[in-house]
Point group: C2
Chain length 340, copies 2
């Protein structure tokens, strides 16, 4: 499958998602700082994928620990943890993965550096492995919602490149195709970072799934014309009531889908659900560099000093969501109970 | 004001809108074929502006007529007319301006080439001049709808560059500013051609009006957050019932504005109203080259062979429109009566 991220001989290898589809190049990270920077610069992106990357980051950080035990070891571990924690604020999976890694550290901190390192690396590998299994379960449940001959609209990239492999939203589509359903995908280009144009088109083309690229502004019109049978997107964080943070533009799609009576599905692992949030009001929304909007591929598209807003995510209220598909099954409103 | 289009010594000069804001260069057209190509390639764009360009195109075509009278003159005129008529299908103003030019030709066709040429050039100049007057009237009426301190969202460029000068949607904003109202503009970048990022930001920056550039996918989120007080857009064609064709993405904005109880205004001259259409169902929607979506400024953003849809316009049903602002005043629903 897609080589999103892999552990190879004391380092993490990631495909450089900033350069796709023009170049298939790989970035090797051999320190936790390099992993943190790769997440920040979006060499790797997608909520589950950055969770996996952060877990490997902790494992790499542990390789360089020198203090054997006690409070100075704790302090050094905390420094690694905090550096990775502050890379990106919105995706729940990042914190979920880091919390799992911390729990392993806490369980092994008295056992010496070698045991700590081994346990942390094993946990990171487990997180990666489980993500593959999870995505296939999401696909299995989600594909039951799609019918033969349908056109599916998706936004951003919730595919193999956003996960260990297979994907969440694109996992649902892959599973439908594997069931013999002929589906076609409309992919929003997803400005400013163009994950749809660059990554989703590339992934689906590799798999031979028919995909049509549109600009974000066209989605509503195709929904109105009846050209779209369902919308399926991923998620970065889901509150207990089902309010869902996902790539900026998702909220608009959900409103437009509802207005045109088209089902709107969110596909995400349970690790995206934030049990501490009652609703989406508390989800931190990352605001990224204005240059992402001012430029496309290094090419300036406006005045160099243009004032810009660049929220990377929005929150779709649960009321616009037809169902949330997780590895446990298809959860319908009210979501509070199903997401528990 | 802005040098969108001007008649200078037997030729038409247009600012090359494909190159803004990076380069301020001008294109000189001395044949009607060059004008037709300039409209097709979007050297000039915006419904009122392409009407003016087409009118000058007819005047230029007449300069090269050789047959003095009769049926061969009619045939030569018809060839010019048809070439300009098939440049772009959606904007009503193009056909409106051409019809005015044809009426002048029909009135003068018996008077000899010199009289025909003079009358056609005068008519083209009148169309340009009237457009300035019209825009200022639209601004005067429209600004009454905007309050001091408001943030106005606009899409594409319905500014001086889309008209003779001053603009329709941006004319409303300019008139509000002239009245001393402090308004701020959110400009959608407007993929694929980026009229918002390239033209609206440039125009408003020149006038000192505060403008914030966002991607098209962000507009819904800012509407939901309560950051936008009104949406004002232009129009390419308005049916008798108020259904409005405008730049792709306008329909989505109208739905999102309504969902969030934000007023949605269309600003356009009466020449945009198509009296032959009862509703928006009959408006032809131009589909442009896939390369406009595949590339940004010549930079490929997806697979070179990606399948693409590229409708340049959509139709917003009248039910989503709070008011239509023309040079005659502010028209509220039901629009059928007011637009007569």
């Amino acid at each position: 499958m897609l080589p999103t991220i892999a552990w190879r001989g004391r380092s993490v290898i990631m495909i450089d998602q900033r350069k796709l589809p023009g170049q298939e190049t790989y970035v090797r990270c051999s320190t936790y700082i390099q992993v943190a920077q790769a997440i920040e610069k979006m060499v790797i992106r997608g909520a589950p994928a950055i969770g996996i990357a952060a877990a490997y980051g902790v494992a790499l950080g542990a390789m360089a620990l020198t203090a054997g035990t006690g409070r100075s070891l704790d302090r050094d571990f905390e420094k690694i943890y905090q550096r990775l924690e502050r890379t990106r604020p919105t995706a729940r999976n990042l914190f979920w993965a880091l919390e799992r890694m911390k729990a392993v550290y806490e369980r092994t901190r008295q056992q010496g550096l070698r045991a700590i390192r081994t346990a942390l690396l094993e946990e990171a590998k487990a997180i990666e492995r489980e993500d593959s299994v999870t995505n296939r379960a999401i696909g299995r449940h989600g594909q039951t919602l799609l019918r033969d001959g349908w056109t599916i609209l998706t936004h951003c990239n919730a595919g193999g490149l956003a996960t260990a492999e297979y994907g969440t939203a694109l996992g649902v589509i892959r599973a439908a195709v594997a069931e013999g359903k002929r589906v076609r995908v409309f992919a929003d280009e997803t400005r400013p970072f163009l994950q749809g144009a660059r990554l989703t088109v590339w992934e689906l083309d590799k798999d031979g799934v028919p995909v049509v690229l549109i600009t974000d502004s066209m989605a509503g019109w195709f929904l109105r014309r009846g050209d779209v049978d369902a919308v399926v997107v991923g998620a970065d964080r889901i509150a207990r009531n089902g309010d869902t943070a996902n790539k900026i533009g998702t909220y608009s799609l959900a409103v437009l889908a509802k207005e045109n009576s088209v089902p709107f599905y969110v596909a995400a692992p349970m690790s995206t659900v934030d049990p501490t949030l009652a609703d989406g009001g508390g989800i931190p929304i990352e605001e990224r560099s204005p240059d992402e909007v001012r430029e496309v591929g290094g090419h300036l598209v406006t005045l160099p000093y243009a004032e810009v807003r660049n929220p990377a995510f929005d929150v779709t209220p649960a009321a616009y969501i037809t169902a949330i598909i997780t590895e446990r099954g298809v959860c319908r409103p009210p979501f509070e109970k199903g997401l528990k």
